[in-house]
């Protein structure tokens, strides 16, 4: 199969204007997603993730730049594009005064499926997302996880080849989140191209083939999780000494290039020799009678990646709709 791009975005700019301020939510964002792959768009609140998804899913017009999704221009061919995509956001976009089944059937009809097919597809999705028992209850009575599953089901009603998931697990409890991951993995196995936004680093790591780190409306890094991690540097050895008074002595043993954290009594050093160097270090520390609480070989986490790329840590706070809008408007603010 020839390699094709399901999504191509070039130089997307979106400026939110209000009376008081002007915020560049997107500032020349470029993006490529290959067909059949999962791209994780990773970034903190207000980085421009949701704005990107809204533009690619035809909900928002870019102020500059262009984007094609499934070969359709997102502005000029928006209506054609809508019949091949599915969108599920962090706020369940379903009618809470309708039942689960009524929601799915309605969306199926509006996706231009014939009535009988819409009903059949609704039943399939209720089954697939374990909502059959709750199918005839109004969505008002659903838990957060159930609503989110129904929302994802609604996005899948027309069997889209391309799916946008905007923070699909934000606000879910850990169990629902893992359940959602399973569902998403299954979809990907079935060949759906997926663009996923998340502020959870481990989520991007777990689900995405490629990760694009977005900050202040731009992609600042792109690669597989491993590639991004190696960008920050290779393995490190971390030692936590028991007594802070031993820190100086221990640091000398570790040699040049170490980093000290007095507060946690942690000493870190890039490790070239890997495991062998670690064994040597344990012996040296023992010989010098320096008691330790912890020692180990650490691979950089995506948290480290984020910190080194942006100079600030990724936020992991669940947000409300108001927060999202505020954050979007504040997206142009520069970090301290």
């Amino acid at each position: 199969m020839p390699e094709t791009n399901a999504i191509t975005a070039e130089g997307l700019v979106k400026v939110y204007k209000s009376r008081k301020s002007e915020v560049r939510a997107l500032d020349g964002l470029d993006l490529i997603v290959e067909e059949g792959t999962v791209l994780g768009l990773l970034g903190p609140n207000g980085a421009g993730k949701t704005t990107t998804v809204r533009i690619l899913a035809t909900l928002l017009r870019p102020d500059a730049g262009r984007a094609t999704v499934a070969g359709y221009d997102v502005v000029k061919e928006a209506q054609e594009l809508r019949s091949v995509i599915g969108l599920s956001g962090q706020y369940a976009a379903v009618d809470e005064n309708l039942t689960g089944r009524e929601n799915l059937t309605m969306f199926g009809r509006l996706y231009q499926l014939p009535a009988t097919e819409a009903r059949k597809r609704a039943d399939e999705l209720l089954e697939q997302f374990e909502l059959t028992d709750a199918a005839n209850r109004t969505v008002k009575t659903y838990s957060g996880g159930m609503r989110r599953r129904l929302d994802l089901g609604s996005a899948l009603i027309g069997r889209p080849r391309l799916l946008f998931l905007d923070e699909p697990t934000t606000g879910l409890d850990p169990r629902s989140r893992l359940g959602m991951w399973d569902v998403i993995r299954r979809l990907v196995r079935e060949g759906v191209t997926l663009l996923l936004t998340t502020q959870y680093l481990e989520e991007a790591d777990a689900l995405a083939h490629t990760i694009a780190v977005v900050d202040h409306g731009k992609i600042i890094a792109r690669g597989t999780a491993d590639e991004l991690k190696s960008q920050v540097g290779g393995e490190r050895i971390e030692v936590v000494v028991r007594n802070s008074s031993d820190m100086g002595k221990a640091a000398q043993l570790l040699g040049d290039g170490h980093k000290l954290d007095e507060h946690t009594r942690r000493i870190t050093i890039p490790s070239n020799g890997g495991a062998q160097r670690l064994v040597q270090l344990v012996r040296d520390l023992d010989e010098a009678s320096i008691p330790i609480d912890d020692i180990g070989l650490r691979r950089p986490t995506l948290d480290d990646v984020f910190l080194s790329l942006t100079g600030h840590a990724a936020e992991q706070v669940p947000v409300t709709e108001e927060d999202r809008l505020t954050a979007q408007r504040a997206a142009g603010r520069t970090p301290a």
Binding site: T4, N5, A6, T8, E35, R54, A57, T58, L59, L60, R61, T68, A70, G71, Y72, Q79, E80, R82, S83, V84, I85, G86, L87, G89, Y91, A92, A93, V94, D95, N97, L98, E102, M106, F107, R109, L110, Y111, Q112, T138, S154, G158, R159, R161, L162
Partner: protein
């Protein structure tokens, strides 16, 4: 770029799709009504309250020029007033949809762009038709009656519903222009109270000061009230001869056309501009 297009079905389009999608959204809106019964119940109670208040509290104090039964005079006015407030129902419904995520779902679907708005205005006409039935029944209880035939009766009902449809489009535009339901309510009532009270709904316009009378007579709520009074043979005292007094039905139809001509395009344009 040579990417294969992934389209599996034609997105349809045209008037057929617009009608079908509009009806689907209408069905959704109607289905919601019994699920939030408080809304309909209080709308009905409020209207009955107006009937009782004006029929029994003020009714004795307001004499009609040329005589006539005040309750019979009042009821067509109450109908028109209720229908004028139809725009508030629409505004609240639209604002509610816009502030919830469901509007994003609708806008991401390959459905007719107009369906959210036509579905809303159509379901509100049916909703207000239902309230109208309850009002008419309570009107019959307090002594209102139709003195003409079934054709005139239905013509009057048709005029009321057409006016409801037109007012709903004002509600659409307003709902898309304000940030929250609360603001929509404030704006709605601020505009609707003078229109419904500076009118012939509760008092004969003869009692108004000269400078206010033209407004009360040309006011669409007044022309609608006068039109239904005329159609149903209810007391219809008009202050002076003149176009509003002689042609209330025609004038009401003109008002409906004007309102639709202004507010349908405004509403549609507002809806389209959400994506900017």
């Amino acid at each position: 770029m040579t990417t294969a297009r992934l389209s599996t079905r034609a997105p349809g389009g045209g008037v057929g799709q617009a009608v079908r999608d509009g009806l689907i959204v209408m069905g959704r809106n109607l289905r919601r009504i019994p699920r939030i019964p408080e809304l309909a119940i209080f709308a009905i109670l409020q209207s009955i309250m107006f009937v009782l208040l004006f029929a029994f509290v003020f009714g004795g104090a307001i004499p009609l020029p040329g005589g006539g039964n005040y309750k019979e005079f009042l009821m067509p006015g109450i109908f028109a007033q209720t229908i004028a407030f139809a725009s508030a129902t629409t505004t609240i419904g639209i604002t509610d949809d816009m502030t919830k995520g469901i509007i994003d779902r609708f806008r991401s679907l390959p459905m007719a762009r107009s369906a959210v708005l036509t579905g809303r205005t159509l379901s509100d006409v049916i909703y207000n038709g239902g309230i109208l039935i309850v009002l008419m029944l309570s009107g019959l209880v307090v002594g209102w009656t139709v003195r003409t035939g079934p054709v005139e009766f239905l013509a009057g009902v048709g005029l009321l519903l057409l006016f409801a449809f037109a007012m709903s489009w004002i509600g659409v535009w307003l709902g898309l222009s304000v940030p929250t339901v609360e603001v929509a309510q404030q704006v709605g009532f601020t505009v609707l109270f003078p229109i419904t009270f500076v009118s012939n709904v509760f008092v004969p316009t003869q009692t108004l000061p000269d400078w206010l009378r033209p407004f009360a007579e040309w006011n669409p709520v007044s022309t609608l009230t006068a039109a239904t009074r005329q159609l149903w043979g209810n007391p219809n005292p008009f202050a002076a001869t003149g176009f509003p007094a002689e042609q209330p039905i025609l004038l009401t139809l003109i008002w409906i056309a004007i309102i639709l001509a202004i507010f349908v395009p405004l509403g549609v344009r507002r809806y389209r501009s959400i994506s900017r």
